[in-house]
């Protein structure tokens, strides 16, 4: 985490917003895993939640790498005033950000499942997990919209917003259970 923070704060172009958003979602996953690991006595299927969380974490790492590489390439095209390159590179960047929105919303949903089943001493952990995942989903939806500047009617923007809303609902549900 410290290494990522140092790299994000550096003067290099990447890692930047996409990696920061994906890291929020990964932190959320880690909190879900912790709550599941510490709830095995009261939650017989905690292992299933851990397996799902690990699968989501693996997807997040892959997405983060794709977001950064597509962003690098798109910025290179922008700086070179390469209009064809920009037109070619922005859609994949939007696809990667949309995938981040979907996966973050799944993390928020898994957190609500954990909130229902885990040892309630860890309810705050999974609530924070859902809030972090919501923030990642909203950030990803923003990245989708800016990567579709040239095609504002693209259906991906609406889908990203729906995913962010799904994450928001999950976080709100847990927060209201206080």
């Amino acid at each position: 985490m410290y290494e990522l923070l140092t790299k994000v704060a550096s003067d290099r172009r990447t890692p930047a917003a996409g990696s920061a958003a994906a890291a929020s979602a990964e932190l959320a996953v880690a909190l879900v895993v912790k709550s599941a690991r510490r709830s095995r006595d009261v939650w017989p299927e905690a292992g299933g939640a851990i397996a799902q969380a690990q699968a989501l974490a693996s997807r997040l790492r892959d997405i983060s790498a794709v977001i950064e590489s597509t962003y690098e390439a798109a910025m290179g095209a922008l700086e070179a005033h390469d209009d064809d390159g920009i037109a070619r590179l922005l859609p994949p960047a939007a696809d990667a950000a949309l995938e981040l929105a979907r996966t973050s919303a799944d993390v928020a949903e898994l957190a609500t499942e954990a909130g229902r089943r885990c040892d309630q001493a860890h309810h705050a952990d999974v609530t924070v997990a859902a809030v972090l995942a919501e923030s990642a989903a909203r950030s990803a939806a923003h990245l989708v919209s800016i990567n579709l500047l040239i095609r504002p009617d693209d259906g991906r923007e609406a889908e990203a917003q729906r995913q962010a809303e799904r994450a928001r609902e999950a976080a709100a549900m847990l927060a209201n259970e206080r």
Partner: protein, 184 residues
């Protein structure tokens, strides 16, 4: 008579011994990915070399199936045969190889992973269709909960718990499974 793709490895070997062509086809189908994975992932062979090994493995299996002392042990027997043929091929090509001990260890690890993956796949195939599908969609196809819910007509918010329940069943299936015996 059970469908040929659902009979056990031992049952399949027994049918191969009687000269059943369909059983031979199924044997090759069932173990082809395993053999190619050992050659390509374990020994880092090219696709062409791995395919040559593949041909030789099944030719020898055909000739020597009678040497197999326990029909249950066909998988480790094929693994051992593949391993030996890969080593022969690498030696014959006089290629630079890793330290033999390191290579052996890597192949052992690869085989262990492959055997685990095959065991999980077999256990998955024995699961109810609904569980098999939801696990396949989430873990193999990387589909999101929302997509799975929409495609399977399940209420949103229930997918994670369904997956957990199916994983618990899969674990029971794996724990009750008989593991392959040692090579004969």
């Amino acid at each position: 008579m059970p469908a040929i793709n659902s009979i056990t490895d031992a049952g399949l070997v027994a049918r191969c011994r009687t000269g059943d062509d369909a059983a031979w086809e199924e044997l090759v189908r069932r173990f082809s990915r395993y053999v190619l994975a050992i050659a390509q992932q374990g020994f880092r062979m090219s696709r062409d070399d791995a395919e040559d090994v593949f041909q030789e493995v099944f030719a020898r299996t055909y000739e020597r199936l009678g040497d197999l002392r326990s029909d249950d042990a066909v998988r480790p027997w094929i693994a051992q045969l593949t391993r030996r043929l890969c080593i022969d091929r690498i030696r014959a090509g006089a290629r630079e190889v890793l330290d033999p001990e390191v290579a052996e260890r890597e192949v052992d690890e690869t085989l262990e992973r492959l055997d685990e993956a095959l065991a999980v796949r077999e256990a998955l195939e024995a699961m109810p269709e609904a569980c098999r599908e939801i696990l396949d969609r989430f873990f193999c196809r990387d589909e999101s909960y929302a997509v799975i819910g929409r495609l399977l007509g399940l209420p949103a918010g229930t997918i994670a718990s369904r997956i957990s329940r199916c994983l618990a069943k899969l674990r029971q299936q794996l724990e009750g499974r008989e593991w392959p015996s040692a090579p004969s």
